[in-house]
Subunit: 179 residues, 2 copies
DNA sequence: TCTCTTTTTGAGATCCTTTATCAATAGGCC
DNA sequence: GGCCTATTGATAAAGGATCTCAAAAAGAGA
């Protein structure tokens, strides 16, 4: 099993192609600023940098992957590890990001302006794939109702082997084979 | 939010009542021994003790809860922390237990001899409730197929507020009220 | 039963992710 | 600009899970 899951989508399958997007009134930085103001929090350079950076790409990511992408210590716009974690929590609380857990690590993805979806997880290559299904939420709602539960959200993870990993590894034909 | 989720089912709702059970040919210890032999592993007292203990109760549990229940150091049948983790991994690998993650911790539950199910999680009291739904697995299978995915398992978690926590806290009537 | 080989165990250290502490810094409102 | 308070970064530490390795023990064969 991979020590650390691949959380980046393949560059040839941008997420917009897969699931489209949802109309929103404000850009993520605007939305975040609104949230901060409503909470009496301050709009710092670190928070501005992070919200912009995070919404400039669509991949799933974990804290470490994100920190790798941010400026390092002694570079301009450096953001310390605690601040990264703190700001991630705020982005989740504000509804901009969603957080879930995979293989013992917290994974984040866009929520604001992004359609509801669930995930397929390849146990071989560790990749996460998104899918959208209309029926799931309704099914969950029914189940919750039957159990006198007030549902707030659901999380469905389908584990298995993706098509790429499932292909039998082709024997590479040598020059001799082709004679 | 609770620092540590309650993983124990309430004593008045034993799991058999909720979901029944599945007929199996071997007892869990027998099944585990079979697995060990097939892997050329040895049947040690520690492994026997753990498989017996774990299947003597039906609750979900995490490693720490389990260790609390096991004999402590300098008592008979003490099992060290690394061995507990090692054996849990073997119980999962053998198909006796299922492992999943909740609030950053690994949680284990019976798999062998126990019907397929998913969970409701109360965000307030942290309790886990099980439910069985016939349609989910089929739905997942369809989704997997559409995505050229070879499904191995799924995991559905419905989060919300349980009926108990959802009840408006009744004002306790004082003696004076009743006059 | 004894011996031998190999697995397993337990003590302790260590890893890894995430969070807490706290003094110094800097927003934002007057 | 000045003040008050939130925020940051350095550092330590919490917490779960795993690694290392010498000692112990299981199982196979004699």
């Amino acid at each position: 099993m991979a020590k650390r899951p691949k959380l980046n989508r393949r560059p040839d399958t941008p997420i917009e192609q897969e699931l489209g997007s949802v109309e929103v009134a404000l850009t993520p930085p605007e939305r975040f600023e609104e949230y901060l103001q409503s909470k009496g929090k301050r709009n710092t350079p670190q928070r501005r940098y992070m919200v912009t950076h995070v919404f400039n790409q669509h991949e799933h990511f974990d804290a470490d992957t994100l920190i790798d992408q941010l400026p390092r210590k002694n570079e301009p716009n450096y953001i310390s590890r605690p601040t990264v974690y703190r700001t991630l929590a705020e982005l989740v609380e504000s509804g901009l990001l969603r957080k879930f857990e995979l293989e013992g690590r917290a994974v984040y993805e866009h929520d604001y302006g992004y359609p509801q979806h669930d995930h397929l997880h390849c146990e071989k290559c560790g990749e996460l794939f998104e899918f959208h299904n209309e029926d799931i939420a309704e099914l969950c709602q029914n189940i919750a109702q039957k159990n006198n539960f007030r549902m707030q959200s659901h999380r469905l993870l389908i584990s298995g082997i993706c098509s790429k990993c499932n292909q039998p590894r082709q024997r590479r034909r040598s020059r001799l084979d082709r004679i």
